[in-house]
């Protein structure tokens, strides 16, 4: 039952905003819808935790420990982002960078985007999964180009074309999947249901499935931002409004990776070898290393953190590629930590850039003086994302690196180098932004930094203590993925 609410609220929210989004209090309503979504998601989670995996709506929706935690995460980050975007967008409007009409578009697509992602997470049908992924892309394309500046248009165009192509390849993969499935399950509706496929995965045709996986990996991998399919990501993150960057980085990438993982489970079952795992490890490692070196060259703060997202998604992909319960557990943990931390960072960065009126890091100095909360938020967020304990990102990196050293020692030198370079690059650029003398004025609006510290607080807590039910939940998911 909750599931319909879960989908209904954001989608209706989208329509509502499309109609009345020009209202003065639209931001509040936006936040309200997100809050409702979060509430329902919490209810759903509660049920899953006690009743275990279930299929709803005669098999159209399937909710297990894996996707339900992503649903909660999505709803949560969506809500906090809505909170953050409330004052942020106001200020943008006052600066005259956005018109009311644009805000209406923004709010409406925001809700639809959330709805699409939840659909993608909860659906049981690989085809619908594809449809909703595409939908999420379409919903965000116009958000990326919201400012209508040449740069933002360019970014949006690249985003659209590259992800469009990628997603098209994913469709071909889905077709192949269906092609293989219908011979086992017979043609018709059920042949794309993941639960069904999962049941018969050992009988599926290996040759077809490995082709299918290549297409799915390249397709959804484009949205995950795996090197070398990542080219759209930094542009889109840098040019879109900051709340959008936050949800792109924090949520969309996860959902795309979720799609890959769903297919991987099937393919592993069908092939019985770890071809899929090796591919993912390769992509992951490549992404980590290349992203680390690219970070070193950045001058635009949002762009830099976009690359850091690529790096972390690479790390997660690598972890999932390694397989095994510990690695999968670490991967899931890292997903969560990255979403929370990275969105928090984007919040602070948003305020910082708004204050400085530029995204060039060289022009942002001494935040800790002008606005200590922003300064400390950015500093702590950065430290957290760089994998320094006691923040949770370290917990997952700890597990990933030690496991890698144990299972695939050859990969560790690359990780060592990449992490070192990334640390040097990011921290070396953030430190002068936070510390030192400054020329910036104080901010007229009180920035909404509660989300930041809520996120960082959670990350800190999860680094030191993971509540038992949460842990159990992760374990089930890890079992599911790592076999």
């Amino acid at each position: 039952m909750e599931i319909y609410w879960l989908l209904g609220i954001p989608l209706s929210g989208g329509i509502f905003m499309a109609l009345w989004g020009f209202r003065r209090n639209a931001p509040e309503i936006n936040a309200l819808f997100s809050l409702l979504t979060l509430a329902v998601a919490a209810l759903l989670t509660a049920r899953i935790v006690e009743e275990g995996p279930m299929t709803v709506g005669n098999g159209w929706f399937f909710i297990d420990s894996f996707n339900v935690f992503l649903v909660t995460l999505t709803a949560f980050v969506a809500f906090t982002t809505a909170l953050f975007s409330r004052p942020y967008m106001r200020i943008e409007e006052e600066h005259g960078r956005l018109s009311t009409a644009r805000l209406r578009l923004y709010h409406s697509s925001y809700q639809i985007f959330i709805g699409m992602m939840i659909l993608a997470l909860t659906t049981n049908n690989m085809g619908i999964l594809w449809v909703s992924m595409e939908g999420a892309t379409l919903a965000t394309v116009l958000l990326v180009s919201l400012y209508r500046t040449p740069a933002s248009l360019e970014a949006a165009w690249k985003y659209f074309i590259l992800c469009g192509v990628g997603i098209a390849l994913a469709l071909f993969g889905t077709i192949l999947l269906y092609f293989a499935a219908e011979k086992v399950l017979g043609s018709g509706g059920t042949a794309l249901l993941w639960t069904q496929l999962n049941g018969v995965k050992t009988q599926l045709e290996p040759t077809v499935l490995q082709l299918a996986f290549v297409f799915l990996l390249v397709g959804y991998g484009t949205k995950v931002g795996l090197v070398p399919l990542h080219s759209w990501l930094p542009d889109a993150h840098a040019e879109g409004p900051t709340p959008v960057s936050a949800v792109l980085s924090g949520l969309l990438l996860n959902v795309a990776l979720y799609a890959v993982m769903r297919s991987k489970v099937l393919v592993d079952g069908a092939l019985g070898n770890d071809m899929a795992g090796n591919l993912m490890m390769g992509f992951g490692l490549l992404s980590v290393v290349v992203a680390a070196f690219l970070i070193n060259r950045q001058t635009d703060v949002k762009r830099m953190f976009a690359y850091s997202s690529i790096e972390h998604m690479g790390l997660v992909t690598f972890a999932f590629g390694m397989g095994g319960t510990v690695a999968s557990f670490a991967g899931l943990l890292h997903m969560t930590m990255h979403s929370l931390t990275k969105s928090a960072i984007f919040f602070t960065v948003g305020h910082a850039t708004q204050k400085a009126g530029t995204q060039l890091m060289s022009d942002i100095r001494g935040l800790i003086k002008t606005n200590p909360t922003i300064g400390w938020g950015l500093m702590l967020g950065t430290i957290a994302i760089l994998g320094v304990p006691p923040f949770g990102v370290f917990a997952s990196e700890f597990l990933i690196i030690t496991t890698a050293m144990h299972e695939h020692p050859w990969a560790t030198p690359f990780l060592l180098i990449a992490l070192g370079v990334a640390f040097a690059s990011i921290f070396g650029k953030v430190q002068p932004m936070v510390f030192g003398e400054t020329g910036l004025p104080r901010l007229p609006h009180m920035p909404a930094l509660t989300p930041v510290f809520v996120h960082l607080g959670l990350v800190l807590m999860l680094g030191l203590f993971i509540p038992p039910y949460l842990a159990a939940w992760y374990r089930q998911a890890a079992q599911l993925l790592g076999g």
């Binding site: 690249k158 006691p390 040097a424 510390f435």
Partner: protein
Amino acid sequence: MSVLADLDAHILDLAWAGVLYWLALGFSALLLQRWRGALVHLVFPLSALGGLFIAAVGVAGLVLPASAMVLPIGLPDLPFHLRLDALSAFFLVLLGSAAFGITVYAAGYFHSMKAGPLALVGLWYHLFLAGMATVMLADDAYAFMVAWEVMALSSYFLVTTDHDVPEIRRAGFLYLLVAHVGAVSLLLTFGVLQGGHGAYTFDYMRHSEITPFWASAAYLLALFGFGAKAGLVPLHVWLPEAHPAAPSPVSALMSGVMLKTAVYGLLRVTFDLLDLRIGWWGTLTLALGLVTALYGVIFAAVQSDMKRLLAWSSIENIGILIAAFGLTLIFYTEGKGALAALSLTAMLYHAINHAFFKSLLFIGTGSVLHATGERRMGRLGGLIRFMPWTAWLTLIGALAIAGLPPLNGFVSEWLLLQAFLLTPGLTQPYLNMVIPVAAASVALAAALAAYVMVKYFGVIFLGRPRDPALEHAREANWPERLGMLWLAAGCVALGLFPAQVIAWIAPVVRQLTGQALANDGNWLLLAPLAAERASYAPLIFLAVVLVVLLFTFIWVRRVYHGRVRHADPWDCGYPEQNARTQDSAEGFGQPIRHIFVSFMRVERETPDPFDRHPHYRGDSRDKLWLLLYKPIADLVGWLSAQAGRLQHGRIQWYLTYSFVTLIVLLVFVSR
């Protein structure tokens, strides 16, 4: 009361309580940021008491059997494991006793600091203390790494306390970077040691077998990781930058205590977690240690900034520690248990000695800095007349670190040299060649240390004030003096009662090498192996010196008059002499620079004969920076430039990437 009744059951709870106490003080400091008085007069004194408490727990822990506990925090399958055995206990004593003096001092030092920053300092300072204590208590990889990084992080924030200065920001960045890279390599060490499926407890590692190859890998990674923290050449570059940048009590903690956590970790991994040790590790480590020692002391001799000088001297002492560690490994793998015990004792002894005298020197320097606001030794001088307390107490530290009897520095040096000296023929001939050379370099380092300390004390406290403003230098306040007094007393006590100290270290040595150092002498005679081979009795020594001194003094006074006439110093016929004609710090280091110039990049501004206001600046920098680090930085820059080419804006190219990736993968799978 029941706690005291069965202490061995509760000792670990007490230790953990001490850690929590520090944490609590840290956060209360954050809450008290409105009340400066409370911060200065309450928080810091209280945390000093915490130091004493931790030290006491450590002393008890040395004699009690090892005890372990599990905390309800950490990762799901990996809660924090704590364990208190002799090794941890020893380092807890080191931490606690040094921290007591330093924190008492800090209460005076931060007296004039503004409330806001002071609250932050209070927070990080106590996180730092708690982190170090937890490092020594941790009994699983995760807890260890968390504590390790908390320690690094909090000290980073302490280093960057006044972050307006670009150099300090740079120093902090360099420090955290090296610390992080080191931490990752420690992660890899534990990655090797862990048993898969999340078996990360030290207890598991202790009982697991491992192939020689992987053991060596683990050891080298550990050496790299801990070396980065300890400032082992060539990973030392951050140290001379970061230690001076911090407020003096923090510098004292970093040099005196934090560096020892690296030593602790090295001991823990090598002698506790690894189940086999290989000979060449020892030789390698010994060599590295000696290089570090000499490198450090040579650069210490040419420094002109007093805190930087002390930082370099810390590198030297770490080098000696690591060398002793390597020697222990050699003896241990050669099956010479007694000698291993001897050199390990020397190492631990030197560790705690260094904790005391280096902290003392750093805080003494801090008082000078407070009184004069000047870090360049070339602008100081003659302070013994205006700050007698600071001067005389610092002198004790200086003599101790110079390894002069009867103070503590001499004892550890003596033990180490004995370890070298009493080597019977080792099985590998090349080791027999190594030992004398090693002994020679240790002796050389010690002698140079004396040079450095004469420079340090002489230039700062003796002679004529090089700047008239120094006449108004204010003596250190009472808490500061108290802190210095404690540490100085420690130096003297450790120097005068070696037999007791060694008996007290014995449990640690026995735990690690399976054999303790038998003192063949009595309570005042220290005889490590056999009385007729070597012995040393500082108390008698001191007594005789004092007797002779007293006798001479009385005799001179009795037999002759004590008339004294005060006059100007003799100008040797050059009436132009003034305070500026004394040796500057550079001047005093000049002979050393002259000899070892090949290690340094010397930058000099020398005045030309027609300058109205002649001005000289000399600076000798570390060549390794150019030879090792800059190339790495350039390489990274180049690589990222190459990576940057991927991203050149043309959507057609981006599409091509996807296209090619697809084709390649298809080819790959359809084989």
